[in-house]
């Protein structure tokens, strides 16, 4: 599914928790259980003036962390200059919170306060919101193999604006053609991957709140959202990032890094 699970090395309890989440994910999803640790290098003028090499010290710490937390994993380290966006290997998934708000061209898993994809004993479904654009289908394509591996069901969530002139109270009657087509495509993809799927269609006032309420109501274990390619004003992913307690997988467009 993913060749590499990448994680940016950060010291402290949160950094360690993120590394553990990445390890857990690699054990579950990556065939070779490969984890790439990206270690930031600092120009470190002050440190060099003081006569010590902070990057060498940082690398020593990475080795210490890996010595105790990487059992059963194949771990590689790669350096990048702090303050720049790291280069990620092809077909990889990044586990990180800080880079989630940026467009970095690869899927990003934001664990929030969770220590592993299987850390809670409830095996809740995976929620995939979709709209009338292509991002929902992109999120579905990324998630369905993952749902199959994790043996989780999926919920395709859509909230529609009320169509003027339509009196029906059934939200499905208010869906636009493209959203309906997307729903059918997602349901078809789910059956291809043999993943149990249900579609939840609502008419909520607030889309982000609707997504989160559906996630919480269904006791979901993961929420997957795709960012649209062209940045505009406001973003549901950003709002969900600020408010979700459930781990969020952001499916970024491969070209967005070039556009960003």
């Amino acid at each position: 599914m993913f060749d590499w699970i990448c994680v940016i090395f950060r010291l402290g309890p949160q950094g360690k928790a993120t590394f553990c989440f990445a390890g857990d994910l690699a054990r579950t999803l990556s065939g070779d259980k490969k984890v790439m640790v990206l270690v930031g290098e600092e120009p470190g003028s002050a440190a060099r003036l003081a006569g010590f090499d902070p990057n060498k010290l940082q690398m020593d710490r990475v080795k210490k962390l890996l010595a105790v937390n990487s059992e059963g994993l194949t771990v590689e380290t790669r350096t990048y200059t702090t303050g720049t966006l790291p280069e990620f290997p092809k077909n990889s998934l990044l586990v990180d919170r800080h880079l989630a708000a940026r467009r970095c061209g690869i899927p990003i898993m934001v664990p929030f306060e969770e220590s592993g994809i299987n850390s809670r004993s409830s095996r809740g479904p995976i929620v995939i919101p979709f709209g009338d654009g292509l991002s929902g289908v992109r999120a579905g394509r990324l998630t369905l193999p993952l749902a199959h591996t994790l043996r989780r069901s999926v919920i395709f969530y859509h909230t529609s604006w009320r169509e003027p002139g339509v009196t029906s109270e059934d939200p499905r009657d208010h869906m636009c053609t493209t959203a309906r087509a997307n729903m059918h495509e997602l349901e078809h993809l789910a059956s291809l991957h043999e993943v149990p799927a249900t579609s939840v269609i609502e008419m909520t006032d607030d889309t982000a709140e609707g997504i989160l309420q559906c996630t919480m109501r269904s006791r979901a274990s993961l929420l997957v959202m795709a960012r649209r390619l062209k940045p505009g004003i406001g973003c549901y992913v950003t709002r969900i990032l600020e408010q979700s307690p459930v781990p969020l997988l952001i499916s970024n467009h491969p070209d967005e890094r070039r556009l960003a």
Binding site: G12, A47, L49, A50, F112, E113, E114, R219, Q243, P245
Partner: protein, 425 residues
């Protein structure tokens, strides 16, 4: 659901049918018992009159319990049903005691050596053997058998409607009707036993068996009725005294909370019930911000309601309180180096020019003071109650320096003070 089914599921309709049953039972038993001079049938008829008043009382209780919530009664008046259940439970226990004593007296009267004991205690009921003549036998059997069948079906009906509509008093009254049916069954068996054992079988009289069969069965029935009564009494008492929903429910509630992403711990769970409403008060620990907590609250409300309504409750009132984890206040110190106009976190003790004493709350620096490096750094750190000294690249000498004290050496994430939240000049 058809109109008739809906009507039959109405608790008031059920109780009206029960009233009709008791009217018919008491009229027939008193009239026919009087005609046959059978005190057994007549007495049972008067017992049914008492049941009639109980049924009227249940209708009143149902009426009161159905009144809507108001400011004075925010949870409604459902608990009145548990008072009714408590009284029915108590009356069943008393009935069981009376029945057990009567049966015991009957057994004692049968044995010649103990036959006189009951008469020595005036407060004990005196033994009255079942006397059924050949003329009254078919009437006695017919009336008792019809009563048994009616009691059985009506009690099942009351209990199922009571459970479906959440009316405890209806269930309790159904249990009481069922107990009546059991007593009637014992009477029926007694009448039949008397009739069959009084005849000679293979030249032998088995009449001596009659009281043994009847009263042994009576004792067993007394135990069964007492058990039903105790169950009703205890469960009503538990609700009225607001006992918790029980360990099993509390464990499951805790499990639901802890399997929700974002919940770090459950500090307390208090549960009780009011009528058929389960009330749950839970204090939870989470590190999330207020908007996220609102979503967590919504999700937990949905999950807990779904769990509680799936069981025996008709409604659930859930109150969730969130708090941030304990701030874990303590003091740490950073070794600082000020040299050539630069300021950075010292790699090791030998480089330290000053110590920054930091008050920590939840791993964040809330207050810091810089002290010049004293000749005895350990003594200063002890004086300031510091638990850890942070250096960027501590070496073995630093560990040795702290040996013997409770201060530990920690590795600082960065050598840049600002990165560590230390905005120093």
């Amino acid at each position: 659901m058809t109109k008739i089914t809906r009507a039959l599921m109405n608790p008031f309709v059920v109780m009206w049918l029960v009233l009709v049953m008791y009217v018919l039972k008491s009229v027939f038993k008193i009239v026919i018992g009087g005609m046959l001079h059978s005190p057994m049938i007549e007495g049972d008829g008067f017992h049914n009159i008492a049941d009639l008043f109980e049924a009227i009382a249940i209708i009143v209780v149902l009426f009161v319990s159905k009144r809507p919530n108001c400011v004075d009664y925010p949870y409604g008046r459902k608990n009145i049903e548990f008072f009714a259940s408590l009284l029915i439970g108590a009356s069943l226990i008393l009935l069981a005691i009376r029945f057990a004593v009567t049966s015991a007296v009957g057994i004692l009267s049968t044995i010649p050596a103990t036959a006189q004991i009951p008469s020595q205690f005036s407060w004990l009921p005196q033994h009255e053997p079942v006397v059924v003549t050949a003329e009254s036998f078919p009437w006695a059997i017919g009336i008792t058998a019809v009563s048994v069948v009616l009691s059985y079906f009506v009690s099942r009906y009351q209990i199922s409607v009571g459970k479906a509509t959440g009316h405890v008093s209806l269930v309790a009254d159904g249990e009481e009707t069922a107990s009546d049916g059991v007593l009637e069954t014992v009477t029926l068996i007694g009448v039949l036993a008397e009739h069959f054992f009084s005849a000679r079988w293979f030249g032998m009289s088995l009449a001596f068996m009659v009281p043994w069969v009847e009263y042994s069965l009576g004792l067993l029935v007394a135990v069964l009725i007492a058990r039903t009564g105790w169950t009703l009494f205890r469960s009503a008492m538990q609700v009225l005294l607001q006992r918790s929903l029980g360990e099993e429910h509390q464990k499951r509630i805790e499990e639901i909370c802890l399997t929700t992403p974002g919940i770090e711990a459950v500090t307390s769970i208090r549960t009780f019930r009011i009528g058929h409403t389960a009330v749950c008060l839970a204090s939870l620990v989470s590190r999330h911000n207020r908007p996220t907590l609102e979503h967590l609250k919504y999700g937990l409300n949905c999950a807990l309601r779904s769990y509680l309504l799936d069981g025996e409750f008709k409604d659930a009132d859930i109150h969730l309180k969130f708090r941030y984890p304990e701030p874990e206040r303590h003091r740490i110190a950073y070794g600082l180096t000020r040299s050539q106009g630069l300021l950075y976190i010292s790699p090791a003790m030998k480089d330290v020019t000053s110590l920054l004493i930091c008050d920590m709350e939840d791993n964040k620096v809330v207050r810091a003071t810089e002290e010049p490096m004293p000749p005895d750094a350990v003594a200063l750190l002890k004086l300031k109650r510091v638990v850890a000294l942070c250096l960027f690249a501590p070496d073995d000498a630093d560990q040795t320096a702290m040996a013997g004290s409770s201060i530990v050496i920690r590795t600082s994430v960065s050598y840049v003070p600002a990165v560590m939240g230390l905005e120093l000049q």
